[in-house]
Symmetry: C2
Subunit: 560 residues, 2 copies
């Protein structure tokens, strides 16, 4: 069973944050006799880098809280030797020896290994732009990074900041700087924030940022930085704009720290990360790699991808440990399940998005919906904007996105579990989930997403989508009440409220397509069913007028 446990194996681990620390701790639980050494270039092991924006924002005030486990704890609890500020310079695969530099003393020394785990993580991308090294331009990757930003903010009395990049870290930093009373400009060279979302799902976030006083510049990349005489920085963009600021946060992503692996000749994948097998083993059978440095297979699309997330990094660390100590645990790939909170809005996703499915040329369908996070009759129900992607053949769930104020990541977690287990939209339809007035509904948003998709697949109520409207050769029918129609509608639409539809069907064409919509899709569905059962060629606009607006009117609202 535990065949390696009595060997005095020598396990060296390069990097001691999420993946490396997990690997070390798990290894000790598989062998009491192995010698386990973590080499960490930085000053901390096992720290919570997901918490750094909140430390900058003074939401987390005690820096010590970010340290999950320190070197002493590793020694006492796990008999693991953690060597901080020790950088691994080289791997001699032939001899199974690494060369280490103690950055405190300057000493350079060798260490031999039976097994080597590479967990150096990823580094913030710092493009070689003019002025990129000016003081006041920071990344947010380590505790010292955050310390420096905190210090810069207080000593310089920072009033203005430019955040470059609108991903997780960019958004979280934006919120935290606003929280500290700083006026923030968010620049994003893509035309939307939060790349894991499809663009029409990101539009509420754009509105929210602006409503919190953030100056939002989409589609405008940074081309350089200039120092001003007063110590402030000018951020210059492609469009020619200049943003004078006291602080710049670079949050344009990370790249895997593959220097060591490349120099050692380990196989690197097409996406630039270390290539590993399902046991996290590299092309060298004595070397494993885990965390942000590796490429992983997407669970849904099977593509090689690069998704730096803490959960998978921890899992990979444990799997590598199990492989090293003779067990055969397999990594199942990543779904990209993730969540981000900003100004009271929760953004969560799992699985593939539409952009990816389009790029891959997959056959897919989708539904939009806007259910309340709990029943409407209980106070303070908040809508969730949801999108579900699925396979039209078998109904397999491919991905989901949700944005709203409450109960958002709960629905994504349920769908994430479903995707992992190969579920179909019919399974979502039948899911039995918690319901009490404060928590959900007899038909939970997950059920509703499944039901709409299933009705589409069964052709009970075929769906059409907001972006297809220009292709409509037929009638567009708005079944909302007259007062709703008057407050705003699709230009070409005719209004017959659902309650009058049965009496007024004579007004409708029998030889044309009729696309029906309402506010969010439910009345449109009722109307579509009534029309189809009366032999009209009806389809329902998924997500109704609300999704149409998010796509049509808001996609390019904050483009520079």
């Amino acid at each position: 069973m535990e065949k390696m446990t009595t060997n005095k194996k020598r396990l060296l681990i390069v990097g001691g944050v999420a993946g490396g620390a997990s690997c070390a701790a798990r290894s000790r639980r598989l062998s009491e006799t192995a010698e386990i050494i973590i080499f960490e270039r930085g000053q901390f092991v096992s720290f919570a880098n997901c918490g750094l924006p909140y430390y900058v924002g003074d939401v987390i005030t005690d820096e010590q809280k970010l340290v999950v486990a320190n070197a002493d704890l590793f020694k006492q609890r796990f008999n693991i030797d953690v060597r901080l500020e020790n950088e691994v310079l080289e791997i001699d695969r032939e001899k199974a020896v690494i060369t280490v530099k103690n950055r405190k003393t300057g000493e350079i020394y060798p260490e031999n290994y039976d097994a080597l785990v590479l967990a150096p993580g990823a580094a913030s991308i710092r493009p070689p732009l003019p002025g990129i090294d000016l003081p006041g331009i920071f990344a947010v990757r380590t505790i010292p990074d955050s310390r420096r930003i905190r210090e810069w903010i207080s000593t310089r009395e920072v009033k203005r900041a430019v955040v470059v990049g609108g991903g997780f870290i960019g958004l979280e930093m934006t919120e935290n700087l606003v929280h500290r009373g700083i006026s923030v400009t968010l620049l994003q060279n893509q035309t939307q924030v939060m790349a894991p979302l499809d663009p029409e799902m990101a539009t509420p976030i754009h509105d929210l940022l602006v409503s919190h006083g953030v100056t939002l510049g989409l589609g405008d990349g940074v081309v350089g930085f200039e120092a001003n005489a007063d110590g402030s920085i000018n951020v210059i963009t492609q469009s020619g704009a200049t943003h004078a600021t006291d602080l710049v946060i670079l949050a344009i992503g990370v790249r895997p720290e593959t220097t060591l692996a490349k120099a050692a000749g380990l196989e690197i994948g097409e996406r630039g990360g270390i290539r590993v097998n399902a046991q996290m083993q590299t092309s060298d059978e004595k070397i494993w790699a885990v965390g942000d440095v590796v490429e992983v297979q997407d669970f849904v699309t099977k593509e090689w991808t690069f998704i730096p997330l803490a959960g998978p990094a921890n899992r990979q660390g444990r799997i590598a440990a199990e492989a090293i100590f003779g067990r055969n645990t397999q990594f199942r790939g990543v779904q990209g399940t993730s969540v981000c909170g900003i100004f009271g809005l929760t953004i969560a996703t799992t699985g593939a998005n539409e952009k990816t499915l389009k790029r891959l040329g997959w056959n897919y369908d989708k539904v939009y919906l806007h259910p309340g996070h709990h029943v409407g009759y209980y106070p303070n129900a908040k809508p969730i904007n949801m999108k579900l992607l699925f396979s039209p053949g078998d109904g397999r769930v491919l991905g989901a996105q949700a944005v709203g104020e409450a109960g958002v990541e709960k629905r994504i977690d349920v769908i994430a579990m479903a995707i992992q287990l190969g579920a179909t939209v019919y399974d979502l339809e039948e899911a039995e989930l918690c319901y009490a007035p404060q928590f959900g509904a007899a038909k939970d948003p997950v059920n509703i997403a499944g039901m709409i998709a299933a009705k589409d697949l069964r052709e009970d109520a075929p769906l059409v989508h907001w972006e297809d409207l220009p292709k409509l050769d037929g009638m567009l029918l708005d079944v909302r009440e007259a007062y709703e129609f008057a407050a705003g509608h699709v230009e070409t639409a005719v209004n017959i409220p659902l309650s009058e539809l049965r009496q007024r069907m004579v007004e409708l064409p029998t030889d044309q397509d009729i696309w029906v919509y309402c506010q969010v899709g439910q009345r449109g569905y009722y109307a579509t069913r009534a029309l189809r059962l009366n032999n009209f060629r009806a389809a329902n606009l998924s997500g109704g007028f609300k999704t149409y607006q998010a796509g049509k009117f808001k996609l390019n609202q904050y483009l520079v």
Copy 2:
């Protein structure tokens, strides 16, 4: 495909709340030509009875909000004829005719059917105790019930209430009455509240009730009621206690309204509900039954059971409609997924509990855990008390229970989805769920539950349980720090803190079982691994001292 849709079928539905209303609406979406009539004995269709306690508590202030859809809406939107205050007296199965009484006019009339759906629901249990019909004793099942309670509270200036029964409704009514400033006594003849939980999981709820000023009497059934001269009521219990009160809420459960079905000779199941097949069809092929009146099969145990929940009732209504209109949708059974909020605590469960598995003699194992609802380094992490039940053979998840202040029903929803899809604890271990500091952890509580269970099954760290402690023939080892041990420990335990364990293993017996515990189970797990790898016969006490305390010291704390 939609073979019945052009027939002018006559569909009669008895009862118009959750199941009946869903069945009617779905039927219309499958046929525009069918004649659909709902006969509802009460004054409302499609109302939210899950909201009634909150209406009594003034959390929901507008009664109209409880009416999901009224008779006019059914007519306008769905062309469905709703006959309120029309009671179905009899079914003539031979002739396919029902006899109806219009309670407003007294008129009695027949209606013939092609298909009949019974959705009369369940009635509150009202045991034939002395004084049960005294004014001031109420059930909470309908809008008029809640109205009468509200009126009673305000006109009588109610200061004291006795709630009889500690299930969902009993707890929700307790909270809502306290919310209105009323002093509440909660009497429960069982030894715990919330029967879906196992007893040791219910103990925090007992403490919480008492901390909110509720007088809690467990294990003390009511034997009768007496009127006092001042209009108050004495509630008399088995133990001989007398509780003087201004208001009594009976919340001791419901029984299926099978009078009509029994008189018509339809098959009744062993649990007293109408027996139906997976298409919700009764023993008469023209009659279907849905909602609280039917017995359903438990998804996990396959037992026939009686679980009155709104979600399944709605689903059953739709399935019956599909069957009637020629489709073959199957009901998958119920998992009993449910949630209840009380004084800021969330209680959620899914699948089988230990009581049931014991009763059935199933082979099962369990884990306890107490993870935070999000990472500890982000402010306001709240612990969740969780219990996971699983099959020792294949690791199949059988059920889960969770109690805590936040993020509770999210974890149960994920596990509910997993159970439906036949997942194992290994799947929970690998689940990729949302993580950002405010929302969860790199190892989500669901992952941790799966990991602990998997380690038990792989015999990496076998578990023992609090109730097995008297059976221990060996050493009980507390690996917490000395100050924790000093603050309270299991009487027979020896203390060696985890950090000293490797140095002090010589003190431990090699020829005896060593049961290890810490506060919640994690350090106990580390210690267990270290000991086992050093050839000690170690096992870990699941849930640690916290679960031990909940079981050992608190189970009988509020017994009368």
